[in-house]
Amino acid sequence: MTLPEGTPEKLPGPAAPAERTWEARPDQHPVSPTFDELTRRRAKEVIARYPVARSALLPLLHLVQSVEGYVSQDGIRFCAEQLELTTAEVSAVATFYTMYKRTPCGEHLVSVCTNTLCAALGGDAIYRSLGEALGEPGRPLGHEETAGEPGSPGSITLEHAECLAACDLAPVLQVNYEYYDNQTPESAVALVEALRRGEKPPPTRGAPLTDLRTVELELAGFTDDETVAAAAVAGPSAAPESLRGTALAAERGWAAPALPDEPPALPPLPEK
């Protein structure tokens, strides 16, 4: 490139600026140190399960919730960084789904089904009783409010839930997504009082009760050790109520037409 005549090509340029170092502002740090090496490794593992990385977003949000007990702004940034998304894209997803909590939760999450059928059988009364049992006199605990310091032992977040798909066992509630079937206001209040004392009454069907954060880790696809994993699959095959049909059929000698000993020949290959 030729320069026009008189261009101050050779003139001394402006003095180089003095060396300055820029310290990253703490709040601009890409990811909170809350998410340690193990969590990062787990995140990579989740992403590797899917043909397309973004499919890992829902499990990743469960993962960050397992670390912090809720989906914090840091958690949003962590997911965004892992998947090369913007924080806005991750927030849009996190706020869509009921199970991602945006404020710190209790050690336990108690979800009471108040959909029509459970409510008609006592679900509304259960929810009301729990609100009163967990709240202050004259001020019952509301939806998604927490009794006790969030995260502390015995703290409980209460919510009313939509149909929990256990209608033959109504009214039902869940603690950390473990089912407690055929509840009454009295049994439910006794349950949360036990939880407040630090006890962990076993669910009707399912694994021994843990806490919300452990369960969130499981939902992301991880169990911490083999003993826990074995316990997690234990429990009955089904609730007794779910077996009433098969039991009645056995009692009355009813059965489906017998399957043939050998599978019948498959239909011929269709002509193109």
Binding site: T98, S237, G245, P257
Partner: protein
Amino acid sequence: MSAPDTTPDTLTPVLTRRWSEERSWTLETYERTGGYRALRTALAAHPDQLITLVKDSGLRGRGGAGFPTGMKWSFMPQGAEGPGAKPKYLVVNADEGEPGTCKDIPTMMADPHSLIEGCIITSYAIRANFCAIYVRGEALHPIRRVRAAVAEAYAQGYLGKDVLGSGFDLDIVVHAGAGAYICGEETALLDSLEGRRGQPRLKPPFPATAGLYASPTVVNNVETIASVPFIVAGGSDWFRTMGSEKSPGPKIYSVSGHVERPGQYEAPMGTTLRTLLELAGGMKDGIPLKFWTPGGSSTPMFTAEHLDVPLDFEGAAGAGSMLGTTAVQVFNETVSVPWAVMKWTEFYKHESCGKCTPCREGTYWLVQILERMVHGEGTPEDVETMLDVCDNILGRSFCALGDGATSPITSAIKYFRQEFLDLIAEQPAVARPEQLADVERADGTELSGVSA
């Protein structure tokens, strides 16, 4: 035991048969009771033979819509070129959440391997090498059981590379949802599985041409897929010994509510409520039946007039409802219809994804009207206003959630209009609404679904 050409027994446990076995969810129990034999038969066949078999069986989707399963599979483009050359996917819809529906969760709890075997056969038939089972997140224990079953199947060579030496590869991922009823809608489920907000897509294109990652995809319900191994093992004629010509096979009827013995009753398609009530020990405490849903809250309600409607796809539709998921919710005379409808409408309002204006706004306004009415501030115009709002939702949204939201209201007004009018009429004739804030109902009772 019935011969093929006679009437089948009243209950025909097929899918539910293993549930009462000791440790029914384990591979050991599954194989001991005949499991994974159908897979060997299937892998020895040409995939198109399996598609023909399922077409011949007449199996229809068990997730609510009743679309013929074999036909859905045959819509997948195949071949080495064009759309057939794209990767293909099987996605299992295990996002069970339709109020009243509780059949897939016990299936996954008690017999997860029947689902896994169905997934492998289906994936082989449609030439998919990746399958995702999308389970609602609140179904924690079923998720564990299905994951454990997947791990056992990998260890046994039923999954992974070169399944049983057939040259067919398949990976299965069990994906936990995060609490959104709308993700039970197949295209919303696909968006959710892609890591997005679960909002339905405009159809067409249907998932068979542009589904997961815009590739050809089959989305089937748990009960549908779990039926597949039995169809391979028994053949289409065996499957058709149960049910009717157009709705063949056994079906899990989930009976809940005011009956003596709520539970899961697997019976031939076309079983009536009269029979189901007998099986479930009759109405609880003898209190008469008032209304019921044949297949979840999105299916228009029935009354005691409909005891003999055959509960198959044609029978339910012929009587003005839908078969849905055969979630039979039974309510007795103590339950207020406007109250029940209010509760359901609150559900639809909460679960509307917000994409389509008629559904998002319509459910919001319907809740306002119903809550006001149930709390003692109804007006004579409310019934017509609700029908008008429903008319503006029905058929005007992308997916069936909006349509479903109108079902309880329009059917309740159809059968119980007078109850709505009586509720409105008995309200205090004072200026509303603020003066009514503290007014008790005249008889001092609280209006709710719970009997006093």
